[in-house]
């Protein structure tokens, strides 16, 4: 089944309006900074971050641990409060965007509730939003199919593998049809074979749903393979040191990773990360 965002007839929209909407920025950060006050003094998690994410993009934040990539994602989700600069999500402050339920968030761990079946885990956001039980059940079926988990509705989380659990958590983030999907190293805890497989699935999901995806990772191949734009970050203070656009076709497969273009971009990312690190030494 197609998710609802695909069901609206694209022909009814004028090309100009569509183009205009495409250029709309979903996330806009200007001179954003975020400082944590700790017992050992302030920690500059983010400093002077300027960033623009357009509708429909797949943007990866990459960098070594401590570079503020997760903090930036959490700031977008209104889970952290910036201490300077401006940040807008869908043109409004992050808090308002959160209250509008404009994003779905996928955490590092599946964070499924062990006492709920997979179906009831996926529909948890719908329950909170007050949707009726019948509608919820229909949505659960639809989105579990989307992540290839059809038939697992009545299972409990412990009966699923780690990769399946993370897919269920992606279905949970998508089921209320937010236009922005925030993913914080969602496949970090999985082995490489499962991760490759899920990367391909995620790409297909992105092409199908037309969502804007912001994806945090510390894997260069993952970032290059998935993204339309790679944001390279560096620690202490967390800042952006390079923004690399890529132009692989949307329907690329894992084989794309062998192509010269892929290797070239991966090289540029690696260079950026190395340059960021040299500040420390």
């Amino acid at each position: 089944m197609m998710p609802p965002s695909m069901q609206s007839d694209p022909v009814s929209e004028s090309v100009a309006a569509a183009a205009n909407r495409d250029r709309e920025s979903v996330v806009r950060a200007r001179d954003l900074s975020l400082t944590f006050e700790t017992a050992d003094g302030p920690v500059f998690a983010l400093s002077g971050v300027d960033l623009e994410i357009d509708r429909g993009e797949f943007v990866s934040f990459i960098g070594p641990s401590g570079c503020g990539k997760t903090t930036l994602l959490r700031a977008i989700a209104d889970l952290e409060q910036p201490t300077g600069g401006t940040l807008a999500v869908n043109g409004v402050p992050p808090r308002e965007a959160r209250l509008n339920r404009s994003y779905g968030y996928v955490f590092q761990a599946p964070a499924l509730y062990p006492w709920r079946t997979i179906e009831r885990n996926v529909t948890l956001p719908l329950e909170i939003m007050g949707m009726s039980a019948n509608e919820r059940r229909a949505k659960a079926g639809e989105y579990l199919d989307l992540v290839n988990l059809g038939g697992f509705e009545k299972k409990y989380p412990w009966q699923l593998s780690g990769g399946m659990q993370q897919r269920a958590s992606i279905a949970r983030a998508l089921c209320f049809d937010p236009d922005l999907l925030l993913m914080d190293e969602p496949f970090g805890a999985l082995d490489e074979i499962v991760r490759d497989h899920l990367n391909e699935q995620l790409l297909r999901l992105w092409a199908k749903t037309q969502k804007t995806v912001v994806f945090v990772t510390h894997s260069i191949p993952e970032a290059v393979f998935l993204s339309t734009k790679i944001v390279v970050m560096s620690p202490r203070p967390g800042r952006i040191i390079d923004v690399i656009p890529t132009d692989f076709p949307r329907d690329r497969t894992l084989d794309a990773r062998e192509s010269p273009e892929f290797l070239e971009i991966a090289h540029r990312v690696r260079e950026g990360l190395r340059a960021g690190h040299s500040y420390d030494d």
Binding site: A77, D78, L79, R98, L99, R101, Y103, G104, Y105, F107, Q108, A109, A111, Y113, P114, W115, R116, T117, L124, P125, E127, I128, M129, Y156, P157, W158
Partner: protein, 307 residues
């Protein structure tokens, strides 16, 4: 050769090893050990008086006579297990349960105030925990009182509770239930504070991304996450609420209840009666804890089986 030796010494798993794989074997051994020690103790402790009896009657007696005598006294210092069992059979099975001498009647008197106190204490304990978890000021203001409430010996408070409530016309069941509740709310509060705080940051953040209200956070996350903690503390609470009910019966001169039975037994030196009341109380506590355990297992199954 070692293989042969092993094969010789351990053929098919025998009855004994199968018995010890579960709970049954070890428990049986411990029970048997206790019974043996008990009989030895009964003979030893009751012997002086038995010798006195023999001497007064000027009868000849041997070791066999002595043992037989010490295990059959009317008011022994330490009754033998079989004497207690006979007394329990007499007062539980043979007596009509409406009789004032039936242990079933007394056990019911105690059980009713235990259950009332347990329910009240558990509800109070949960409410306190909910308040403490949600309102920072309550934790600071209530927690010291909750902890110090348990440092006061219940035996000192029980008579006052009974007298004060008696003065305002509350007699019988209610004062005892209040003493039970006073004892049993504590583990529930402590367990539930921990349980309601057990969801990890990720699970909490998740609900924040949905802009869930604190009411929703409570019912969809905190409460279900605290269920294992709830049952652990309820098992402790139900056992001590029985203790509370018995203690509540002691200072009142109550006519019914296992506490009254204990007290009457000690007035008249009826040691067998004391011990059988004690055994009944222990059996009652064990069944209450087991009952909570059964409910826990049903709840765990309804909540996904493995936690």
């Amino acid at each position: 050769m070692t293989i042969e030796a092993d094969a010789g010494s351990a053929p098919v798993p025998g009855l004994v090893s199968r018995l010890f794989a579960g709970h049954l074997g070890p428990i049986t051994v411990v029970v048997l050990a206790i019974v043996v020690i008990w009989y030895a103790g009964a003979v030893y402790m009751n012997a002086p008086r038995q010798i006195e009896v023999f001497n007064r009657a000027q009868t000849d007696w041997g070791a066999a006579d002595l043992i037989e005598g010490t295990l059959a006294q009317d008011r022994p210092i330490l009754p033998a297990p079989h004497q207690i069992l006979v007394e329990m059979k007499k007062t539980i099975i043979d007596k009509k349960i409406t009789s004032k001498r039936s242990l079933v009647f007394h056990a019911w008197v105690t059980l009713s105030s235990t259950l009332l106190g347990f329910v009240a204490g558990a509800v109070l304990g949960i409410l306190l925990a909910v308040g403490i978890v949600h309102v920072g000021a309550l934790e600071k203001s209530l927690m010291p009182w909750i902890i110090s409430s348990q440092t006061i010996p219940i035996l000192a408070i029980a008579p006052m509770v009974v007298v004060v409530l008696g003065a305002i016309g509350l007699k019988g069941l209610v004062p005892k239930a209040i003493i039970s509740a006073y004892l049993c709310f504590f583990p529930v509060t402590i367990g539930m504070v921990k349980g309601l705080r057990s969801p990890d940051l990720l699970q909490m953040d998740l609900l924040r991304t949905y802009s869930a209200s604190s009411w929703q956070t409570f019912w969809k996350l905190r409460w279900p996450a605290s269920v294992p903690f709830l049952f652990t503390s309820l098992k402790v609470a139900v056992a001590i609420s029985l203790v509370g009910a018995i203690v509540g019966e002691l200072p009142t001169g109550a006519q019914g209840g296992l506490g009254a039975r204990l007290l009457a037994g000690s007035y008249y030196g009826q040691t067998i009666q004391i011990w059988s009341a004690l055994f009944t109380a222990a059996a009652l506590a064990a069944s209450l804890v087991a009952l909570v355990g059964v409910i826990e297992r049903l709840a765990v199954r309804a909540m996904g089986g493995r936690r």
